[in-house]
């Protein structure tokens, strides 16, 4: 890849995790195919070969539905913590946040914070109760005492919406990234991702998916650690040195005065509007606690104690990772911003701004080359690809559980199924989801899909989170309240995003100004969802509602003690 010209992958990769950045309307379709990058491809092949071996091993262990959805509950707290961290540290987090720090300093830190602070909340309020109440996924928990059919249908649908948006965004990101890093054709890249993900999920189920996550998390953490270490070494391990030098380079590279350069040390454009700042914070914070593929991971451990341990371990690794991305972003300013090798001079002449070869999302990749040469850059590229693979596998599995366990087995067949037939449906669902993801990944190639991750987090925060939390903590929640509140959250989040600038103006191009002036829906849709859950519950005078309120006590005992929990560790 060295010397070859990498072009314009848009800042939409940042947008993959950071949707408000995307309001500028970047286009993911801008990436051009690059010269074939052999070191990266070889390292990636090694990773794929290794994970396929694991899948083969996992396939031998995976027989029952328990095995398929939750690896039989036999994952240890520490392993699961690493896997959760792996699920969470997507390529968008790694490349996107370090790129955001590279271009606007402090604003990048704001995203890290939002993604981070959801975890303590998950630990304090959700993890242990979730494990005590559920078996496979969050629908099990909300339908514990509420009426199975409507509540489970709703939870499955909103989970599928979250999964679908997240999946499409990851697929498009994967295609663009691979085109850029490996020099493969976009369509081939999407198909490769789809096929590998199918193999992991179809044959290896949760066990293989978990190990793919763990390996990738370890690779990503070690790569990022090395980069951050080299950066800190160059500034004698002093943050103050690093900032001072970075500001100097920044002002030189961006051709601004020192005064303007200093601005990156404080909050900038990202949060000009306080409402958006808060809304973003809420969506990131509570969205975490409603993401189906993350919640599903709590059922892979044997009890509440291990679930707790998983979150503590995950929080540790995720926090460490975000500290690293912050250093990597500043390191990129030091090593990349003024290095002509990495600058796209032709594009700079047109836009008059600092432009990196391949787009500003490449900051971390270029830094890896500056610090460790071609081979290390190949390693980091391979890790970025591995990251996408692992994340889509986890997403697919949680989508599959919503289809086969919720919609098919419990709603459609009312629980009258055999494990064999449920497994069969789950295999079809895997294939279906993979084909769906590949087709849409290809169709959306030239679309700006950044808002889709925004949708995913917002739907998770506005539809899943209120229903989940109230069902666990509030005696008064009834089926009617949960269903109406959930629908309001789902429709509200999707509606507000469609009416916002990112979709209405930049993607659909319906008119010049957007009906909804705010980018983040969470500040409005989430309280509204809570309100509807509350209102339609307390006004529910039916006999069913009475029964559901009474059933809370038994649920409460179980959520506190885990007594009567299904033996996930009975293998």
């Amino acid at each position: 890849m060295k010397g070859s010209s990498l072009r314009a992958i848009s800042i939409a990769l940042v947008g993959l995790c950071c949707y408000t950045v995307a309001v500028a309307g970047p286009d993911l379709g801008a990436a051009e195919q690059q010269a074939t990058n052999w070191p990266a491809i070889i390292m990636f092949m090694i990773f794929v070969g290794f994970t396929l071996l694991i899948t083969k091993w996992a396939a031998g262990q995976t027989q029952s539905t328990e095995d398929f959805y939750t690896a039989g509950g036999g994952i240890s707290g520490f392993q699961n913590g690493l896997a959760i961290a792996g699920d969470y540290m997507s390529a968008a987090s790694f490349l996107g946040i370090s790129a955001l720090v590279f271009s606007s300093g402090f604003d990048g830190l704001l995203y890290s914070l939002g993604f981070m602070v959801g975890w303590p909340i998950v630990l304090f309020l959700i993890a242990e109760r979730l494990r005590n109440l559920g078996k496979f996924n969050l629908s099990d928990v909300v339908s514990f005492r509420l009426e199975e059919k409507p509540v489970r249908t709703l939870a499955a649908c909103s989970s599928l919406v979250v999964v679908a948006f997240y999946l499409i965004a990851q697929m498009v990101g994967a295609g663009q990234l691979i085109k850029l890093l490996f020099g493969l054709n976009y369509n081939i890249a999407v198909v490769v991702v789809g096929l590998l993900m199918t193999a992991y999920v179809l044959f290896g189920g949760m066990l293989a998916t978990t190990w793919v996550q763990i390996i990738k998390a370890v690779m990503l953490l070690s790569g990022a650690t090395f980069m951050a270490f080299m950066v800190m070494k160059s500034v004698d391990f002093s943050f103050s040195n690093m900032f001072t030098q970075a500001i100097g380079v920044y002002s030189e590279a961006h051709k601004t005065g020192m005064g303007d350069a200093l601005k990156i040390m404080g909050p900038g454009k990202l949060t000009e509007n306080p409402i958006d700042a808060l809304s973003l914070g809420l969506a990131l914070m509570f969205g975490t606690a409603g993401l189906p593929h993350i919640l599903m991971r709590f059922f892979t451990v044997k009890d509440a104690k291990e679930a707790r341990k998983s979150v503590v371990v995950a929080t540790g690794f995720i926090g460490y990772f975000y500290l690293l991305t912050f250093i990597i972003g500043f390191g990129a300013i030091l090593f990349v911003a003024n290095n002509p090798q990495f600058l796209d001079l032709a594009k700079m002449a047109v836009t008059g701004k600092l432009e990196l070869v391949g787009g500003n999302n490449m900051a971390a990749i270029h830094l890896s080359e500056a610090l460790g040469g071609d081979l290390f850059m190949g390693f980091i590229s391979a890790v970025a690809f591995a990251t996408i693979l692992a994340v889509v596998a986890g997403l697919t599995l949680s989508g599959v559980s919503a289809i086969s366990h919720d919609l098919y087995a419990n709603v459609f067949k009312k629980g009258q199924t055999t494990p064999e037939s449920e497994m069969k449906v789950s295999r079809y669902a895997t294939l279906g989801l993979a084909v769906f993801a590949m087709i849409l990944g290809i169709l959306f190639e030239k679309q700006n899909v950044a808002f889709m991750v925004g949708l995913a987090f917002s739907v998770a925060a506005c539809a899943n989170f209120p229903v989940l939390v109230l069902s666990m903590f509030w005696k008064g929640l009834t089926t009617r309240g949960a269903v109406i509140g959930g629908i309001v959250g789902l429709v509200g989040a999707v509606g507000l995003i469609v009416l916002s600038k990112a979709v209405w103006v930049d993607t659909l191009g319906i008119s010049e100004t957007a009906p909804n002036p705010f980018n983040g829906p969470a500040l409005f849709a989430m309280p509204l969802s809570f309100l509807c859950c509350w209102f339609f519950s307390i006004t529910d005078k039916s006999a069913r509602a009475e029964k559901e309120r009474k059933a809370f006590d038994a649920q409460f005992v179980r959520s506190q003690t885990g007594i009567g929990i299904s033996g996930a560790s009975d293998h």
Binding site: F106, P120, M265, G266, A277, V312, D553, T561
Partner: protein, 110 residues
């Protein structure tokens, strides 16, 4: 379990002690986290100049230690929770389980 068993468990003093301890711990830590984070986001929204002002006379601004501090605080709060949960709540949970399992298994119900 039938309703009367559930009621007896709810009325069990050990169970009540455990629940109130758990509740206090979870909500206190949640409140701290929310207070700090929402406070910080409000600062970001309404008092940018403060966050962009110098922390100790040098180039580092208040925003940096506060921001990184929140990440570190998340660690610390998780550590505190898990320490207390492991050392106080788990033993209590075990004792409680011993008492209430007897209740739960009466009449072969579970």
């Amino acid at each position: 379990m039938d309703d009367s068993q559930v009621q007896r468990i709810l009325n069990n003093p050990k169970f009540q002690e455990m629940v109130s301890k758990k509740r206090r711990l979870s909500w206190t830590l949640t409140a701290i986290m929310l207070f700090v984070y929402v406070g910080f986001m409000l600062l970001v929204g309404y008092n940018k100049p403060f966050l962009a002002s110098s922390f100790s006379g040098g180039i580092t601004t208040w925003g940096i230690p506060l921001g990184l501090g929140i990440i570190v605080l998340s660690f610390i709060l998780c550590g505190v929770y898990s320490y207390i949960a492991n050392n106080t709540l788990d033993p209590l949970n075990k004792e409680t389980l011993k008492e209430i399992e007897a209740i739960a298994h009466e009449k072969g119900a579970n």
